[in-house]
Symmetry: C2
Subunit: 209 residues, 2 copies
Amino acid sequence: MVKPSGKTKRDAKTGILDAADEIFVRRGIDGARMQEIADHAGVNKALLHYYFRSKADLARAVWLRIASSFVPGIFQMMASDLPLDDKIDRFVEAYHAKLMRHPYLLAYVVNEAARHPEIVGDFLSAERRRAARRMIRKLRAQIADRTKAKRVAPLSAEQFLVTLAASCLFPFAARPMIASLLGLGPKAVDAFMEQRRKDLPAFLKRAIR
Amino acid sequence: MVKPSGKTKRDAKTGILDAADEIFVRRGIDGARMQEIADHAGVNKALLHYYFRSKADLARAVWLRIASSFVPGIFQMMASDLPLDDKIDRFVEAYHAKLMRHPYLLAYVVNEAARHPEIVGDFLSAERRRAARRMIRKLRAQIADRTKAKRVAPLSAEQFLVTLAASCLFPFAARPMIASLLGLGPKAVDAFMEQRRKDLPAFLKRAIR
DNA sequence: GTCTATACTCTGATAGAC
DNA sequence: GTCTATCAGAGTATAGAC
């Protein structure tokens, strides 16, 4: 408002973040080149170091933005009073929608989390840790209700959550391997994923029925 | 036999492969340094280029050795006449045992498969593709038998296989995230995984019951 | 805030002696 | 086959003009 350069500044910074996002996700942090990011953003390489001191800082900023964009929403939904079956539907739907559009995202996240564990911690603020605990507690109650009513073997809420996430996410991370293994071309893999989006919720509900 | 250097040669080459395996898996291909691999193998950097022309070639050799060491065995077991439930037990058991000892392996495989899809193709020879098809065909028959007998909704063998793999493998790839999310230390995560090894087969069997 | 030019470091790769 | 020495290129990062 006061500074006329305010808008421009944010645009340049955001532009760099957008470009870095794409290049990091495509090549990994180690494989990415600052020059390529700069080119992709249409700015000079020096500007990257002006806004973000180093490559590591830039990578951290990109990571934080990615994680912040959809993890908190999922936490909240999973901690809500929604019936368990609806949560499964929404979880599957949300991640399929997200990852269909960003196929390399998950391989990136998985890899960098393994390689640079500290940035995972950076993302999980105290507030988010509390949100995670709320989610687990709520899920535990819902699963307990169900197993009590139907006399099924007890199931840990944590294990269920991990299995749910695994079933949705892993196929996107393993997409190239699935394609090779099943002998599918790019379009056939898309169809396979689309089918999965439809079938998976029923499969998971059956397991906790 | 004829050459007295035969044994030494193989040892040096194997030593380099062992070292490269460890460093690549720990740092990723892009993050790994030829110097570090050479140091770890106790040989000179130049020797790496003598046996493997370039870093890319070395990475390919490492990948082929890793994949060859346990994928074909799994294919064969899954294509056998073993009952479906036993296959689930063995699959879960085999991968948990393997990955407990090589925690970074999966993040590496997933990442490099996404980044360098061509090396996945290198691994899947025509013979292995046939083995994969045999496995799928057998699983499809077994699942069909079961759903016919118990009147359950039909389930694609491919989808089931992916879900099975996802449930077993993803937790290892996502280990750092799971730890952060659930607030577990290294020992607690190990316990979580151990619990998972026990509970997962029952969960999966219930879904196709 | 944004650019040009450049310093400095590191890495993969090769040449050549033994 | 294995080593020492070295190079060319690429990379991150900074200095300084505008």
